[in-house]
């Protein structure tokens, strides 16, 4: 599910005698966290460490995980884009400009040569277009003579931030509203790709979260029943999971997504796609939850609680859930990228989200044929968004899992 080496059920992270290599102290690999000499940089030493709560301990371990920190930065960056998309993008995602279809990316220049001195005048160069007489195709060339000044917080057409607050300035853009500025190129209709990638983050980054939230709810309920009560319920749920996992997921998703009629309300499509992704998504989470319940059920503190006369609900919520919550969070983080890739793939095939919704998959749909890619390679750029978002989540999840590992002694 998480396509990753470290969560196999054999629990191979149980600590053994440290090999000579682990003393190197390189923290970018999670393995070392389980085995390196503990608490080198923590004031107070062993005694104080023993006093810390589990979340504090997790946080300390997490902070020392370099890749996880990179992950935090990447993920935070994309959510920042997603939240402030309106302000951060130079245009509105549906603004089209029929004069500039497939305009190539421009470079942003910061200094302008004025006589013999350089002045700080951010600008881009305009385009000259020629129409091929045979194919009627318009080709663009960057024209060094046309200077389009660019500035921070330019005045532009009115828009509403989050559909609420009326605003007219965006973070950056051409000084003159409507002047061509396509830093990452334009698409078939002359829409700014940078703007659309920023807006795409909003859909692509949330659909993973919403999908995982659905999966998590089903997963915890099913896994909880399965693991806590066992018996017939466990058997049925486990067989169901095995069954669902034996259906190849992409054909299954394709089949389900094809069932969404054309012309369905985009918001409903969004919702249905997350449901479709959760159809399989919950199975992996349920397995993890079940495994945790199983291993905790016979722990002394759980038995003590039961002997004390606690109700099942109280035992689960008060005693068991807190002790594996951190682990669940890590698993969930690792499930998000799978969802992001799934949504992108489905939308790319034309079965997922559909225009006018802007998501990275929808954007990549424009780059389906080799002719388009060969002529307008910048249309592949939304793929970079997918790549870095997925990478970020993987790093983050890896770090969380290592930090949440109760056997680690860092």
């Amino acid at each position: 599910m998480t396509a990753d080496g470290r969560n196999d059920p054999t629990g191979h992270q149980s600590s053994g005698p440290a090999t000579p290599e682990t003393g190197v102290g390189e923290l970018s690999d999670p393995d070392v966290l389980g085995h390196a000499a503990p608490s080198v940089d923590i004031a107070g030493g062993e005694d104080e460490m023993a006093m810390l709560g589990q979340w504090k301990l997790m946080w300390i371990r997490f902070k020392r995980h370099r890749l996880a920190m990179v992950g935090v930065v990447l993920v935070a960056f994309f959510y920042f884009l997603a939240i402030f998309a309106e302000f951060l993008s130079p245009q509105s995602p549906h603004d089209y400009n029929r004069h500039y279809p497939y305009a190539p990316p421009q470079r942003l220049h910061l200094f302008l040569r004025d006589g013999d001195q350089l002045r700080f005048r951010p600008h881009v160069y305009g385009y000259t277009s020629t129409v091929d007489p045979a194919s009627f195709r318009r080709t663009f060339a960057i024209d060094d003579d046309q200077i389009i000044p660019v500035r921070l917080l330019p005045q532009g057409p009115e828009y509403r931030m989050w559909n609420l607050i009326p605003m007219s300035r965006r973070l950056f853009g051409p000084v003159e509203p409507g002047a061509p500025m396509f830093l990452l190129g334009a698409d078939r209709l002359g829409r700014d790709l940078l703007t659309r990638i920023v807006y795409g983050a909003r859909v692509s980054m949330t659909i993973g979260l919403v999908g995982v939230a659905f999966s998590l709810i089903i997963g915890i309920i099913m896994g909880g029943i399965s693991g806590y009560f066992g018996g017939v319920a466990d058997n049925i749920i486990q067989r169901t999971i095995e069954f669902l996992q034996s259906i190849p997921q992409i054909p299954l998703w394709m089949g389900l997504a094809a069932a969404i009629p054309q012309g369905t309300d985009p918001l409903l499509v969004y919702f249905l796609i997350t449901v479709i992704l959760s159809v399989l998504g919950w199975t992996g989470l349920a397995r993890v939850v079940r495994g945790r319940f199983y291993s905790l059920k016979t722990e002394d503190f759980v038995i003590a609680a039961r002997v004390d006369g606690c109700s099942s609900l109280r035992i689960i919520m008060r005693h068991m859930v807190p002790s594996f919550l951190s682990h669940i969070i890590a698993t969930v983080t690792l499930a998000v990228p799978t969802m992001i890739i799934a949504e992108t793939s489905l939308s790319f095939l034309g079965l997922g989200l559909r225009p006018p919704v802007v998501s990275w998959g929808v954007l990549l749909q424009a780059a389906q044929s080799v002719q388009v890619i060969a002529n307008f390679p910048w249309l592949l750029l939304p793929g970079l968004g997918v790549f870095f978002a997925v990478l970020g989540f993987n790093f983050l999840g890896d770090g969380l899992r290592d930090a949440a590992d109760p056997y680690a002694t860092g």
Binding site: G5, R6, V24, S246, I247, P251, L252, F348, V370, P377
Partner: protein, 328 residues
């Protein structure tokens, strides 16, 4: 052991029955059926189909009957006569369409598996015994990159590179002169020369995952006392590594195999669409879009059966390989 295999086979039967039902239900989900789509398309073009003709077609394909009757007719045909129904869009029996494509999907998945094994095992061993060296970091980084790139994006990038650097279109499984030729040795060789791109595209994520698994498992093994003992009594280093730790890590290789094949079969669908390979993917997509229900359902059914079978084979192989597994 024999009993175990028989029991596993018996377990398979209810799963396959359930899958066939689900496959059929999925196809029924969209409103309308192939004929109503057809009629709508004709009407959109300003033509009308003869009502009698439509109802006769409906009769022939059994579309007017309740779903469970349709399912029963379909599944009975498959079991008794190997008849998967007719494809509406192609006007041919489904069985005439799917077998070569399923075969090629199988070849593609199997070749990719071999590729994954050949690459992942040595690289995994290398990065475990050379933990925290430059080589290990390079491998780990590449692994993360491989996991973070969606299959279809990788296929697109390959297409772009193939076109802009080598000036040729990447895609298909055969050169034009071999597309409809009968099977022969030159045709086979031609396929091999095309096959490597989808294999690499499809295998990257799996390889990356398996390298990380191998590395993690082998690292665990290497920390165990018996390795120290072996080293202490003076065994040559290659023997210390290869004799036992790698063999134990291999068990995991086999148990991961089921998941890998499942992902491959599923991933092959989308990669094939991008690279327009004559495998199941493109045809399934078109069948789903045009509600060509028997064709789509048969594909989903057969792909799932392929999955179930590969899980079974990997389970049996594991039971045979690993003496610690008790198959009772």
């Amino acid at each position: 052991m024999g009993l175990y295999i028989v029991r596993r086979f018996l377990y398979m039967i209810p799963t396959v029955i359930l899958i066939s039902i689900v496959a059929f239900m999925i196809i029924q989900l969209p409103p309308g059926d192939y004929l109503s789509t057809l009629v709508a398309r004709y009407e959109a073009e300003g033509e009308t189909l003869d009502q009698e003709y439509v109802s006769r077609l409906r009769e022939i394909y059994g579309l007017g009957r309740p779903v469970h009757v349709q399912y029963w007719l379909w599944i009975r045909g498959i079991i008794t006569r190997g008849d998967f129904g007719r494809s509406f869009a192609w006007g041919r029996p489904v069985s005439a369409l799917i077998w070569t494509r399923l075969g090629l999907t199988f070849v593609l998945s199997l070749t990719t598996t071999l590729f994954i094994w050949i690459v992942a095992l040595p690289v995994g061993i290398y990065s475990a015994i050379r933990q925290y060296t430059v080589g290990d970091y390079v491998v780990t980084t590449l692994g993360f990159v491989g996991l973070a790139t969606p299959n279809f994006l990788l296929a697109l990038i390959f297409m772009y590179i193939g076109f802009s650097v080598f000036g040729q279109t990447v895609g298909g499984l055969f050169s034009p002169e071999f597309v409809s030729a009968p099977w022969s040795i030159p045709r086979f060789l031609n396929m091999l020369s095309h096959l490597w791109i989808p294999v690499v595209v499809l295998g990257t994520a799996g390889t990356a995952g398996l390298i990380r698994h191998t590395r993690a498992n082998l690292l665990d093994e290497l920390r165990k006392p018996y390795v120290v003992t072996a080293r202490a009594k003076g065994l040559p280093e290659w023997k210390v590594i290869l004799k036992y730790p790698v063999r134990i890590a291999l068990n995991f290789f086999v148990s991961a195999q089921a998941t890998i094949l499942v992902t491959l079969v599923s991933g092959a669908a989308i990669v094939s669409i991008v690279l327009s390979l004559p495998t199941t993917g493109p045809l399934l997509l078109r069948a789903l879009q045009s509600q060509d229900m028997y064709l789509a359902a048969s594909f989903i059914l057969m792909l799932s059966v392929m999955n179930v079978l590969s899980t079974l084979i990997s389970d049996i192989a594991l039971a045979w390989l690993d003496p610690r597994i008790r198959y009772t």
